[in-house]
């Protein structure tokens, strides 16, 4: 079982406080994604949980038992690294067997688990190859295999897909989600890619500079971002945030409207601007609209085929119930 509790966990590197005291609970069987811009401390947080870094304060509990001072191997967690960290001189079989060999498990049990993991991850044909002879996706699966055979209390993933190409990434995303639904083991997944976070997570933890900005299900974060940071970070393309007169009309310092909640109308509309760059994706078209009274262009999602070209005048009307309002501190106004 893998319920992980962080109680006022803090990390300092010298004088620099990377993670201010932080509380978080990861329930058993949950798929939790830590997401945030680079340098926000999400990988450090994961390494603290793994035991690869020592905490500067606070306590980590795994299944209610204090784990703060336990060495990584004793915490019963398995980690998948960004670079996969496979052992290049060992065959795939030996790579997967390594944690079991270190635990002194009997050979027949090892073989049984290797066969099971290889079968689940489509690695059976590659067991006797070296990691150097495998493709990126296969290496990733070996790294996952090495984690699975230990039957850990929880899996930790440190940006596991960032070295893969776009097509493979989508595939591996599915495989990891699939794995989670079969194993039902706790998984903590670190990424800077909010698409990965939205598609895979049961619960997303948005981090900025070591602070937890918001914790919630993907749709909670999408529908009710707690502050402007989360609003701008979650959702693709980004939410349009605007201040000034447009916000004042809604009694707020800042308002946010997602590109998909702006309708293109024939005349009138709240905003009038000129079409700048447009991105045609086939199913959707994203327009970057330059509005005279605003500094930044506004992103608008329109249907697949809209007869607007660069320089055309466009009229926009936000969907009234989809406007997010934020106060002077950037916090959401309910």
């Amino acid at each position: 079982m893998g319920r992980i509790t962080l109680d006022k966990v803090q990390k300092k590197f010298g004088e620099v406080e990377v993670i201010p005291p932080l509380d978080l609970t990861v329930e058993d069987g949950e798929f939790v994604v830590f997401v945030g811009p680079s340098g926000c401390g999400k990988s450090t947080l994961l390494r603290l949980i793994a035991g690869l870094e020592d905490v500067s304060g606070g306590e980590i509990r795994i299944d209610g038992k204090p784990a703060t001072d336990l060495p990584p191997a004793k915490r019963g967690l398995a980690m998948v690294f960004q670079s996969y960290a496979l052992y290049p001189h060992m065959s795939v079989r030996k790579n997967i067997a390594f944690p079991m060999k270190m635990a002194g498990m009997p050979q027949d049990e090892q073989d049984r688990r290797i066969a099971k993991a290889a079968d689940a991850l489509n690695l059976t044909d590659y067991l006797d190859r070296r990691p150097g002879q495998l493709s990126g996706g296969q290496r990733q699966r070996v790294a996952i295999g090495r984690a699975i055979v230990r039957e850990p209390a929880a899996f930790l993933f440190d940006e596991p897909l960032s070295n893969l190409d776009a097509a493979l990434r989508v595939g591996m995303r599915m495989e990891i989600s699939e794995l989670h639904s079969t194993l039902k083991t706790t998984m903590i997944y670190v990424t800077h890619d909010q698409v990965e976070a939205m598609t895979m997570a049961d619960k997303i933890v948005v981090l900025r500079a070591g602070h937890i900005e918001q914790v919630g299900s993907p749709l909670d974060l999408y529908h009710a971002p707690r502050n402007t940071f989360v609003a701008g970070f979650i959702g693709s393309p980004k939410m349009n945030l605007m201040g000034g007169a447009a916000a004042a009309k809604h009694d707020a310092t800042t308002i946010g409207i997602r590109p998909e909640h702006l309708d293109v109308v024939d005349t009138g509309g709240t905003f009038t601007g000129k079409v700048g760059v447009s991105e045609h994706l086939g199913s959707d078209t994203f327009f970057h609209v330059h509005i005279p009274e605003m500094n930044e262009p506004m992103t608008v999602r329109a249907g697949g085929e809209v007869g607007l070209r660069h320089g055309d005048t466009i009229y926009l009307e936000p969907q009234a119930d989809k406007i997010h309002r934020f106060d002077a501190k950037g916090l959401r106004i309910a």
């Binding site: 191997a73 980690m79 960290a85 052992y87 001189h89 060992m90």
Partner: protein
């Protein structure tokens, strides 16, 4: 080097260097070959340009040949094992972050810059000397009888001297190899439950294997021709006569240039055997 023109001009520019190298190597080699078939003893004013394989036969059949071969193997083997074991340990230690890292690293490399003759003299007079050597003081301090290294175990003493000189080289190469090991691999092994000794054995050592073969190859080539250390310390006495030293004795002490040349050619052939053998191992190791 894309066009025909640049290719041919490159060849012309390389030519002088190739020519000098060839002359440098081929002329002495050919002269040695020529003398090895001659009975040439200048002190006795003997010169017979062709006596067939007589020199080879007498060099190979003399009892000193086999013993010198054995000595060479012992010496090279001993130095290699000390430098590699010590080099791995030092490389791992130097890789740890510590105060004054830069200075320590320079100090560790320093012995490599000391000339072989000088280091042999320093060791002979300052460490191994029975009356004034540091080791003698150390033995006396602990109440033991001073040990006369150079006459009691001369081969071992020379191995120590040369190993001291080559340890920095091994350390340097192995240190770069240690530094190229990804920390994630070690962390993964740590997560997998491998204690430090297992991490060394299963992760670090295999990672270093390539660098170790390179060290073995390069050192062997240089160690086969150890001369100054033997000359300065024991003069080839007490079973420290290596093949190189035997050749030197035949030429200069016996004043038999023909016999010495034959020995030289034998040494060249043996060294090539070793080199080919080692190259194949290294090649295999570098492949994967």
């Amino acid at each position: 080097m894309a066009t025909e023109h640049s290719k041919s001009s490159a060849r012309i520019m390389i030519a002088p260097a190739v020519f000098v190298l060839l002359v440098w190597m081929l002329v002495p080699l050919c002269m040695t070959l020529y003398f090895s078939f001659a009975d040439y003893r200048p002190m006795r004013a003997t010169f017979d340009a062709w006596i067939g394989f007589d020199n080879y036969v007498s060099f190979l059949t003399s009892s000193s040949f086999l013993s010198s071969l054995g000595t060479t193997l012992w010496m090279v083997g001993g130095i290699l094992s000390i430098t590699i074991a010590g080099g791995v340990v030092l490389a791992l230690l130097l890789d740890q972050p510590m105060f004054g890292q830069g200075i320590v690293r320079i100090l560790v490399i320093a012995p490599f810059f000391v000339m072989p003759t000088v280091s042999a003299l320093v060791w002979k007079n300052m460490f191994f000397n029975v009356d004034n050597g540091l080791f003698s003081y150390l033995f006396k301090f602990f109440g033991a009888q001073p040990y006369d290294f150079l006459s009691q175990s001369p081969l071992f003493s020379i191995v120590i001297i040369v190993a001291w000189q080559w340890l920095p080289f091994a350390t340097l190469i192995l240190l770069t190899a240690v530094q190229s090991l990804s920390s994630e691999q070690l962390e993964a092994a740590e997560m997998d439950g491998a204690p430090p000794l297992s991490r060394f054995w299963y992760i670090i050592l295999p990672h270093l294997s390539r660098a170790i073969t390179v060290v073995i190859l390069i050192q062997t080539i240089f160690l086969l021709s150890i001369f100054a250390e033997i000359f300065v310390t024991t003069n080839g006495a007490f079973g420290t006569r290596t093949l190189t030293y035997l050749v030197y004795q035949r030429v200069l002490e016996s004043q038999n240039i023909g016999l010495g040349s034959a020995g030289g050619i034998v040494a060249v052939i043996l060294a090539n055997f070793v080199a080919i053998f080692l190259m194949r191992i290294v090649g295999k190791n570098l492949d994967n």
